[in-house]
Amino acid sequence: MKNETAIEVQGLSKKYSIGTIKKYKKKEIGILDNLLLPFRMLRNIGETSFFNKNDDFIWALKDINFKINHGEKVGIIGKNGAGKSTLLKILSRLVYPTEGKATIRGRVTSLLEVGTGFNNNFTGRENVYLNATLYGLERAEIDSIFDDIVEFSGVGKFLDTKIKYYSSGMRMRLAFSVAAHLDPDILLLDEVLAVGDIAFQQKCLERVEGLASGGRTIVFVSHSMSAIVKFCDRVIWLQDGKVIYDGEATEAVKLYQDGPLSEKELDLASRSDRKGTGLVRYTKVSILDENMNLCENVRTGQCINIALDYRAEEPYAEPPRDVKACIIIEDNKQNRLFGLPSEILIADLSNIKSTGRFICKLNSLPVIPGVYDITISLLIDRQLVDKVVSAYKLVVLEDDYYGTGLLPKHTMGRVCVDFDWLHESRN
């Protein structure tokens, strides 16, 4: 029986060595220095060991976990250097992971860069055959799709011309055509749709759409949010080598495009999916740092103030005494992590005027990197006045919470608490 999961990734991490950088001083570039270089190199022999422990490392991926089922179309987004290409390279077995494990079920084709293995001195025809064998096809199989490939590429006229006389766009068209006519179960694409002229790009998109609707699993790295929204049902958002969001595509893209968090204060007043009597409404949620400035990047362990602006529909004649506000933090799978009810602190929020702001201070935000939902509610005189589920999406970035460079893995839950370990040994 076929296993449901096409790709399963467990605790995958990748450490890259980025070398010891300060080998030559800047001034060592004169003529004399070039002449002396062979002798200077001798000096370095002792310092260079093969597995240099002093190399600087970066974690291109850290503890990545996800499962992709057969037939799912998953987009991977994130800033430059977030680790997207690294992830696809590991899944394509081009580099080894440092930790963790990935399991792939089904035939994989990865298009990390089109035009791979094209040889300038061969004709287009020869290169099509050559390229297709590199992707694992046999001669007879290539024969059967050859005409489709040529037709799709639109360079049929130049088929018996050497590739070196092609324009770069023509090369890419031919290369993409080969790739697009492979028939994998799982297709890994890294920014490959941006080839050729607009007409050809359109054709490529349609082709990928066709492949996608044919029930194939597609993992698709792109900076083009429109393409992501078009093809993908699900988005995995990487940031600094970690998954900070894994879920519904349009929502992820919206969050991603909203950019800096300061611009993301939602105008809650216009939301209608809320509960409560409505005598007082929350109008805005904003995340402030300890100095009450809007916070651009929220990080694990940071001191933040969650400010809730409100407006009363009608000014209270007599300010209510019993006012309780509550904030609930959930992860993006709607698991409640913790609540911040004002009542247990016996905080005095009474004396509500027509507008105002409640501020809840967290000395240290205790969640690991990810995207979190903030749900807010307000009770006045034991009556629910307002409640907005998912009033704010909090994107939390990584920070060194424990001063050790390490954070708990998400399998241990998403919350960071202060703790210490001691050991008392007894003989």
Binding site: N3, Y16, S17, F50, F51, I90, L91, S92, R93, L94, V95, Y96, P97, T98, E99, G100, K101, A102, T103, I104, R105, G106, R107, V108, S110, L112, E113, T116, G117, N119, N121, F122, E126, Y129, L130, T133, L134, Y135, G136, L137, E138, R139, E141, D183, P184
Partner: protein, 279 residues
């Protein structure tokens, strides 16, 4: 489509200390291997109009030069049983096959780096490609040899059946040395220079131009430490009936080759684990 290269579960994990050779996988990628071999052969010949000529040119030119030197200086190469021209030409072609293939296998990783960064295939394919594709030039350069054999009437006997074994041994030695140096050269380009120097000097310390009989009997033991010495003599023995088979020397070459291929492939796999990131 019946392509089933990836039709199974693939588990991707950090490289383990266990170094094993996945021959099954290599077999599954045989189409790719063949296609790369054909490509490599085509590249060698695609820009040359006098394709075949250049393949013989070097050994034939060297044959001419050495025969000229020998005749005019009266130097004694101590070749017995067969004519000097046969001895020299047969030695040259297999020697050049050895040198070129070893250099090419040692450089194969560098050459295929761009491909390795984009397509998965068993890493061992890279050094196998020049090893096999150079056999083609080797075969072509053997044509004048066949003509000379017929011309001079020095026919091979039953030992011709051993020829594939000797060539296989030579290929094993090439692959072993090549993978070893391919691994070294990932650390430092110095290895490549070193290999070039050794192979260059090798021509003069191997029985290519002269016969080992020229060497003092006491020094012969040292002389035959060179694994190609046994191979060269065995190769000729397979071709020329009157040429004795250097049994012990060849056994040594074979053992040496087997040790080298095991060591070479182990090192190659290890190097791959550490350097896949740095290609």
């Amino acid at each position: 489509m019946s392509n089933n290269i990836h039709d199974k579960e693939i588990v991707i994990e950090p490289p383990s200390g266990l170094v094993h050779l996945n021959l099954r996988e290599l077999y599954e990628f045989r189409h790719m291997l063949w296609s790369m071999i054909w490509k490599s052969i085509r590249i060698q010949f695609s820009e040359l109009y006098l394709k075949f000529f250049w393949t013989f040119a070097r050994p034939l030119a060297m044959l001419g030069v050495f025969i000229f030197i020998k005749n005019y200086s009266g130097a004694n190469m101590h070749v017995s049983n067969i004519s000097y021209s046969l001895y020299l030409y047969s030695g040259l072609i297999i020697w050049f096959y050895f040198v070129e293939s070893t250099n090419a296998t040692a450089k194969s990783v560098e050459k295929d780096a761009a491909l390795m960064k984009k397509i998965y295939f068993p890493r061992l394919i890279s050094p196998l490609v020049p090893l096999v594709s150079n056999l083609y030039s080797f075969g072509i350069s053997a044509i004048p040899l066949v003509v000379m054999i017929i011309w001079q009437g020095t026919y091979p006997g039953w030992k011709l059946l051993l020829l594939p074994l000797v060539i296989l041994q030579c290929m094993i030695l090439i692959l072993g040395t090549g993978t070893m140096f391919a691994s070294f050269s990932l650390f430092s380009k110095d290895a490549e220079r070193f290999l070039k120097l050794v192979l260059y000097l090798g021509l003069f310390v191997s029985p290519v131009i002269y016969s080992p009989d020229k060497i003092h009997a006491k020094s012969q033991l040292v002389y035959f430490l060179n694994p190609m010495a046994g191979t060269l003599l065995a190769f000729r023995s397979c071709l020329f009936n009157d040429f004795p088979f250097p049994f012990w020397q060849w056994m040594y070459s074979l053992a040496f080759s087997l040790v080298f291929i095991i060591a070479g492939i182990r090192m190659y796999r290890r190097a791959d684990m550490h350097f896949a990131d740095k290609l």
